[in-house]
């Protein structure tokens, strides 16, 4: 099972094939005829039961019909698995031109016997043609590669992997070599070659064990394979093989992204030097890859890794492996516990959707994950015990995050949901029930991330009970009050129930489509409805304190609180048309107090002015004092210039600046916002809760929509919890209290219309 065995097999086959041609020619003129080996045989990589792929090539003006039959007979008689063809030189190049698969096979053509100059000519013309046609052929090959990947799954994760055809298998490695031959992209050759040789060794053993030409590793083969590969047990053998598959998948994914980048750029516009486009502090995009911005010093900013990863995943772009490797080497360690921003970046990364997969893989391959989440090692490439699962445990966790990211509008705490999603199976791999084993691990991780104690408890509960709803719904009597009490006593409140319901659905969807049929979904939904009635409506306090609670616990509270009466400047008393703006710097932001004569739309105008200045609002509160409107804003920019803000505010009020015109459609395919009335939250005002992506300008859009309905906003509580902003607005009729039902419905409709289409300030 070594390269030398493969070489010996190839030599024997060469002797057989070459001998057949030489014997047929029997000393006659061999010019214009050559026998070449193609595919795996061309690469001298014959496994014990491999086919011999050979082509009898001839010059266009040489007739080889009779010769061909005489060549194949002795080879058939020898019992070899022969896959043969006869082609004129022009036919071979033409076939390679019209069929990308033929082109891939012929690229490895190797001379066996006959006229060597003809083989040389064939190779030279094929290679030249391959380079010339690369821009046309590569998209076709990409389609073939992805279709094959979808059909056969990944070598790293599929329950029954195929060493040759699965994604990350031998065929992908061969395609990578062909990509390099185009001269458009490059790969780490030594790395790729090492992986290829290891996989070839594995394939040799699989052929020998199976006694036939199969590339699929059936589950019962692993123990024997372990023995032959020198691995301690079946699990170790799985890890060994899957690790190689993951490496090739990673290289393949990365290389194809680079091919995309090359194909997207017009051939003529090659620029000299890197083209860096800053996208976040210290992070830029260059040639479709997320890298460090010019002049960024990795050792200064501990959040760089998470920020770059979140940006790359949200943009569904490559996180440059050399950039991550540099950050692993030279980057500053994250503080312990993490701050709020690190947590927000990490949960944004987890909720980025399909872009998470490639970025997570890069973090894993470069060793960055070991720094961010050392507990990951427990489940890395760990096979699932149940055949229901499509993937290994680690990949299942990533897939669960991707599924959960589509459902975050259903929960108030998207950040908690995402952390629970990535950790829910972290306890697998031992003898103890994995949800029991996972609970303390989840607690350690959540604690390190700096979640306040009650939220650490929440993450723990979600991990501990992530199987509860599915199990109870299918095995217990939902009509029995004891069943509902049983669930309610573990879940404790409606918010946890909602989180658990979304986690259950994401987990099942990531497991396999069969695990979340409408039948099962119906049972779980029924159970949640019933338990929800037992637990009662969500706690109103959660709405205003829930998000702010997270902020407060991180020591960065921006609670507006009871501000009390403010002093109205004399100039304003003399002329209520003026606007007074006072900015007071705080430890991690600033407090802005705005006083003006009372009028509709003042808060909307202020939010618009802040959006135009790219300043994020954390909280705002408004009230009337005598005939003046007072609003206090907490913003995240410590150095905002009060004079500039006043100037912008006046311009918005006068209509010289229309913030909405500066708001462009978001480039991201955002989830639809959720707008709900929380009837239980207050008796003084109608509470609107808006969940949507955190983007500048959102507060302005909501406040403008409410002002257009002639409604007064008493306070706005704006909280970003990782991937989702949860904004709560206390709305009243002017001079009155809560909104009548039809007015509340109109307000919801107006806000939803203003936000739908993800119109935001695109920075």
């Amino acid at each position: 099972m070594t390269a030398s065995d493969r070489l010996a097999r190839t030599r024997a086959a060469d002797a057989l094939c070459g001998g057949a041609l030489e014997q047929t020619l029997a000393g006659a003129d061999e010019s214009g005829v050559a026998l070449v080996a193609v595919g795996g045989y061309g690469r001298s990589e014959l496994a014990p039961f491999s086919d011999l792929d050979v082509v009898l090539v001839h010059a266009d003006d040489v007739d080889v019909h009779e010769l061909a039959a005489n060549v194949w007979y002795p080879m058939w008689d020898s019992g070899a698995n022969l896959d043969h063809a006869v082609r004129a030189l022009s036919e071979a190049t033409e076939a390679a031109k019209s069929d990308a698969r033929v082109a891939l096979g012929l690229l490895d053509a190797r001379h066996l016997a006959g006229d060597p100059s003809l083989t040389l000519q064939l190779r030279a013309s094929l290679l030249a043609q391959w380079r010339r046609d690369a821009r046309r052929q590569l998209p076709v090959i990409r389609e073939l590669v992805s279709a094959r990947g979808l059909r056969l799954g990944e070598l790293a994760h599929a329950a029954v992997p195929d060493i040759k055809e699965s994604m990350g298998g031998l065929r992908d490695a061969t395609v990578l070599k062909a990509l390099v031959a185009t001269w458009l992209v490059d790969v780490p050759h030594a790395d790729l070659e090492r992986c290829r040789q290891q996989l070839l060794d594995v394939r040799d053993v699989v052929h020998e064990l199976a006694g036939r030409a199969t590339d699929r590793i059936a589950p019962e083969l692993w123990p024997e394979l372990a023995l032959r590969l020198g691995q301690p047990d079946a699990d170790a053998a799985q890890r060994y093989v899957r690790e190689i598959g993951r490496r090739i998948t990673h290289l393949s994914r990365l290389t194809w992204r680079r091919v995309d980048g090359v194909l997207e750029r017009p051939q003529s516009s090659r620029r000299r030097g890197p083209d860096l486009r800053p996208v976040a502090p210290g992070v830029a995009v260059s040639a479709g890859e997320v890298v460090l911005d010019r002049g960024t010093v990795p050792s200064v900013d501990p959040l760089l890794m998470l920020r770059a990863a979140a940006e790359a995943a949200e943009r569904d772009q490559v996180l440059s492996p050399p950039t991550v490797a540099r950050l692993v080497r030279d980057g500053a360690e994250l503080p312990l516990p993490w701050g709020l921003e690190a947590r927000n970046l990490f949960t944004r990364l987890l909720a980025a959707g399909p872009g998470l997969l490639g970025v997570w893989e890069t973090l894993d391959e470069t060793g960055a994950l070991a720094r961010i989440l050392p507990e990951w090692e427990r489940v890395r490439l760990l096979p699932h015990a149940s055949v229901v699962h499509r993937f290994t445990v680690d990949r299942h966790l990533v897939e669960t995050c991707i599924e959960a990211s589509r459902l975050i509008r259903r929960v108030a705490r998207a950040d908690v949901l995402m952390v629970a999603a990535v950790l829910h199976d972290i306890g697998k791999g031992g003898v103890v029930d994995h949800s029991v084993a996972g609970e303390p691990v989840a607690a350690v991780v959540a604690d390190r991330m700096g979640f306040p104690a009650d939220e650490v408890r929440l993450v723990q509960d979600l991990v501990r009970w992530h199987l509860l709803l599915a199990e109870v719904a299918t095995t217990r009597d939902l009509d029995d009050p004891a069943t509902l009490e049983y669930v309610a006593s573990r879940v404790r409140d409606t918010e946890t129930l909602q989180l658990l319901e979304v986690l259950t659905e994401s987990d099942a969807l990531a497991t396999s489509p069969k695990a979340w049929t409408s039948w099962r979904a119906g049972l779980v939904r029924d159970l949640c409805q019933r338990v929800g009635r037992v637990l009662g409506p969500p706690d109103g306090a959660w709405l205003t304190a829930g998000g702010n609670g997270a902020v407060a616990a991180a020591g960065t509270t921006m609670e507006v609180g009871e501000v009390g009466e403010v002093e109205v400047p004399a100039a304003l008393r003399a002329n209520p048309g003026l606007v007074d703006v006072d900015v007071e710097a705080l430890a991690d932001g600033a407090r802005v107090t705005v006083i003006s004569g009372d009028r509709v739309g003042l808060m909307a105008a202020m939010a618009g002015a802040l959006a135009v200045l790219h300043t994020s609002v954390r909280a705002a509160r408004a009230w009337t004092q005598e005939e003046f409107a007072v609003s206090v804003w907490h913003i995240d920019d410590q150095h905002l210039d009060g004079a500039i803000l006043r100037q912008r505010l006046e311009a918005v009020l006068d209509g010289r600046i229309v913030p909405a015109e500066r708001l462009r459609r978001s480039r991201r395919t955002a989830l639809e916002p959720s707008v709900q009335v929380r009837y239980d939250a207050s008796t003084q005002a109608t509470v609107l809760e808006v969940r949507m992506d955190d983007r500048p300008g959102v507060v302005h859009l909501v406040l403008s929509a409410l002002a257009a309905q002639n409604l007064s906003v008493r306070s706005a509580h704006v909280t970003t919890l990782g991937p989702q902003a949860v904004d709560v607005f206390y709305v009243q009729e002017y001079g009155a209290g809560v909104l009548a039902d039809d007015r509340a419905a109109a307000a919801v409709h107006a806000v939803r219309r203003a936000l739908t289409g993800a119109v935001t300030l695109d920075v």
């Binding site: 299918t474 939902l478 049929t517 039948w519 929800g532």
Partner: protein, 121 residues
């Protein structure tokens, strides 16, 4: 030879299965189904979406057995599926004209009475 079809509450599955196995029947076909009986519950709103609760999830069990075995099988299903509440399900029995085992390909024996524990699936 008869076909017993039972529609039961999902959580009674384990009890029904082990009871039926106790009388020597191991072959059966089980499907996840939804349906409605005489009872009707109003549609409900959950997470802002209205759901039609008149279709409820149930399990359907099908067993083919000899005429002599049928009474005991039905009795086991009924006693173990019963919770005494509305929506416990139904069991019905219909005659089977013929049965062929696919593997055995015994087309000549379509009229022969199968042995105990034969499966419909």
């Amino acid at each position: 030879m008869k076909l017993v079809t039972a529609v039961i509450k999902p959580h009674r599955w384990e009890a029904v299965r082990s009871a039926v196995e106790m009388v020597g029947i191991s072959g059966m076909t089980v499907s996840e189904v939804t349906g409605r009986g005489r009872q009707k519950s109003p549609s409900e709103v959950h997470r802002g979406v209205e759901y039609d609760n008149t279709l409820v999830p149930r399990l359907r069990i099908e067993i083919v057995a000899t005429d002599e075995e049928i009474p005991e099988i039905v009795e086991k299903i009924v006693t173990n599926a019963r919770t005494g509440k509305i929506g416990d399900g139904k069991v019905w029995v219909v005659p089977v004209a013929a049965m062929v085992r696919v593997r055995a390909d015994d087309l000549d024996e379509v009229t022969r009475v199968p042995t105990a524990g034969s499966s419909a699936g």
